[in-house]
Every structure is written in C-alpha cells, then in structure tokens.
C-alpha cells in the first residue's frame, strides 16, 4: 500500500500535470513526494538546497558560512536602503512595516496591476513612483538591497498567497506550474526532469537539488559568478544548460515561475542571502 502511494506521487509529480488540482493540493503532493524521496531530511532543512542532501558538499559549505561572502552585500544594501531619494522618500516608504521582515510575503499577486510582483520588481516600482530610473536586475545596488531585505526576514516562513477571489491570480500560478513541467529546448528537459524526477542523482559530478526549498535563500553569492545574483539569473543559467530559450530577468514568464516555485516552498524558513558554489 505504501509503495502504491509512493508510485502515485512519483507519477503525478514527474510525469503529468494534474490539471484540476488546487494549489493547496499541489503543495500537499509536492511535499509528500520529497518526504518519501528523502525520508532522513527534516522539512526545515530543504531550504539548504543540495547541502541538505549531500554530506560532502555540506561540510565545504559550512566552512564558507563561517565568513560568508555575502555579508558585504547585506551591509551595502542596508546603507542604500536607508538613503533618501532626492524627493525625501526612501525604499522603506514603499513597503509594509517599512520594508523590514516582509520578503517572505513575496512574490505576491497585485490585484490592481493584475500581475505577480516580485521583491526585485517592487524595488524598481518604488523608484519609479519617486521618478527615479530603474536599476538593472544584475546591478550590485539592486542585489545588495535584496540581500539586506531578505536578511531581515530570516527564519520567517515563506508565505506566498494565491488569492481565491481573482481568477487571474490562479491563472498566473498555473502558467508558472506549466512552465516548470513543460519539456523545452534541444535537450528536451523540463525543470522537473532535473529537480523533481532526478533530484538526488548526479549529472556528471553535480548532485541535483530538490525543487522544494529552491526559493528561500535568494539572492545568493555564487562562487561561479563572484557576486550576489538573483533567482532569475539562475533560471537563465538552467535554461542555458537545457539549450532552451531564455526569458528576460523579471519577465512575466519568470515571475509566474517564481510564484509557483515559491508557493511550493511555503512554510519553509527564509534563509537568504546564502552561498552556492
């Protein structure tokens, strides 16, 4: 019976989209799948990506966390965050609770704008409201402010919400979900091929992390980048590996994808910014 149950999870998650499932049902299946697959990993540990499932990588990572390379970004970000714009306003004015301890609620569905708003986009909308040009999504200024804001949310639980009174919110979630399971590119992979179906296995010498927890630690300092970068930058990296079409940073496609993926990590503690090799 238990095996049958396991098979069902595997089947539903890896292979087909259960088109009529509600987000809450999706979430239940998603968690149960990874719980079955990695029975010795406590739920709260999934926010550590590959380090939750690979002991050798974990040891190397814990060493680096002693003097985290993203620390400077947090400090710079705090200073930038608190600096007033020329009109006297500042970033804090654009957020609830002055922007402290709020990033666990992002991305959210904006009813007035009829789209998914991520924390990075919210920062640029804030600038726009004060008549200041937007920052590039690769700019250190932007990634540092993100690092600081996320830092003030550490230990708070991921809390992406999909309002039930707006059909378009659910549609955006569904688009994100479809994106995740759709095979694409010359190599015919989907995101789920690597991070659900084959999570825990190795592609060459690289262990594939489970998608559960994929959104809690951003932005991350990546050794490969030599800097702090955003979740969407990672989406582009994986699209390249798939030899698939890339979308723009903060494009509607990636924001919907982030909405789905974050919802799947609901309940996991925020632990950004973090380090990845």
């Amino acid at each position: 019976m238990k095996t049958l149950f396991k098979c069902c999870h595997a089947f539903l998650l890896c292979t087909t989209l259960t088109v009529f499932a509600s987000p809450a049902e999706d979430l239940g299946q998603f968690r149960a799948y990874f719980k079955d697959k990695f029975p010795s990993v406590p739920f709260n540990e999934f926010n550590n990506g590959v380090y939750a499932i690979n002991e050798d990588a974990r040891i190397a990572w814990q060493d680096i966390e002693e003097f985290p390379p993203y620390e400077e970004a947090i400090l710079n970000g705090k200073a930038l965050f608190e600096t007033s714009f020329t009109n006297g306003r500042n970033y804090g004015n654009c957020f609830e609770n002055n922007g402290v301890g709020v990033s666990q609620n992002y991305p959210y569905w904006d009813r007035a704008r009829q789209q998914v708003i991520t924390l990075a986009l919210a920062l640029n909308l804030c600038r726009e409201e004060s008549g200041i040009p937007a920052l590039k999504y690769t700019e250190a200024k932007l990634t540092s402010i993100l690092a600081y804001m996320v830092y003030t949310s550490r230990e708070m639980k991921t809390n992406a919400r999909i309002p039930t009174n707006d059909k378009k919110a659910l549609e955006s979630y569904k688009k994100g979900k479809k994106f995740y399971y759709q095979r694409r590119g010359q190599l015919n992979f989907s995101c789920a091929t690597c991070h659900i179906q084959n999570s825990g296995r190795r592609i060459r010498s690289e262990t594939l992390s489970p998608s559960l927890g994929h959104t809690t630690g951003w932005p991350v300092y990546r050794a490969k980048w030599g800097s702090v970068g955003t979740l969407h930058r990672r989406f582009i990296g994986c699209s390249k590996q798939m030899r698939a079409k890339e979308y723009k940073l903060q494009s509607e496609e990636y924001r919907n994808l982030e909405y789905f993926l974050t919802y799947m990590s609901n309940g996991l503690p925020i632990n950004g910014p973090s380090y990845r090799k």
Binding site: C14, T15, Q186, L187, N188, F189, T193, Q197, N198, R201, R202, I203, R204, S205, E206
Partner: protein
Amino acid sequence: MISSYKTMQLTLLSCLLLLACNSAHSGSISKGKSLAFDRSKGNCLACHTIDDGEMAGNIGPPLVNLKMRFSTRDALFKQVWDATTINSKTSMPPFGRNKILSEEEIEHIVEYIWSL
C-alpha cells in the same frame, strides 16, 4: 553454377572486404568513444557510467553488456536516436530527433557502446 575460380575470387573479395570493414570498425569505435565522452557532443557521461570515463553521473544505468539488453544494433540505434519512443517519460535527450548529433555521429557511438 559458379565455377570454382569464381568462388575463389568471391572468397578473396569478401576476405578483403572484411579486413577493410574491420579496420573501419575499430576506427568507428574510437570515434564513437570520443563523441560519447565529449561534453559538447554526446556527453553521455553526464548520466551514464561508461568504460573508463571520469566523473560520470548516475541518472541512467551503466552502459555495459548492451548485447544482453538489445537484440540488434538497430534497437540500440533507436534508443540513442530518440529514447522517448521507447519510454515517453525518459530523461534521456532525443539525440537524433532533436539534431543534437548527426546520424553518422550516432552510428559511431552505437558502434562503440555495442562493443562494451
């Protein structure tokens, strides 16, 4: 009725052909190996343990004794050309169908892994 002279001639010819084939064969095997290992070509090691290949992944099964699993070379060719025709849920890329490799390149790779 073929004369004994003709038979001799034919035997000689097929001997020569066999010889030629044999050396083409081993050339193909070594070409196949480098295509299979090359990250920008087959990159089969991303997912399979093969031979003396280093840093192999474990998404797919080790490629050994394929003659036990595939009754013909053609069946093996089909697996590499488009694995989704055999298992629609497979993680293995359709190397031929999606033009990741040319038909000739796949022939070499099949020659190589058939020999393991």
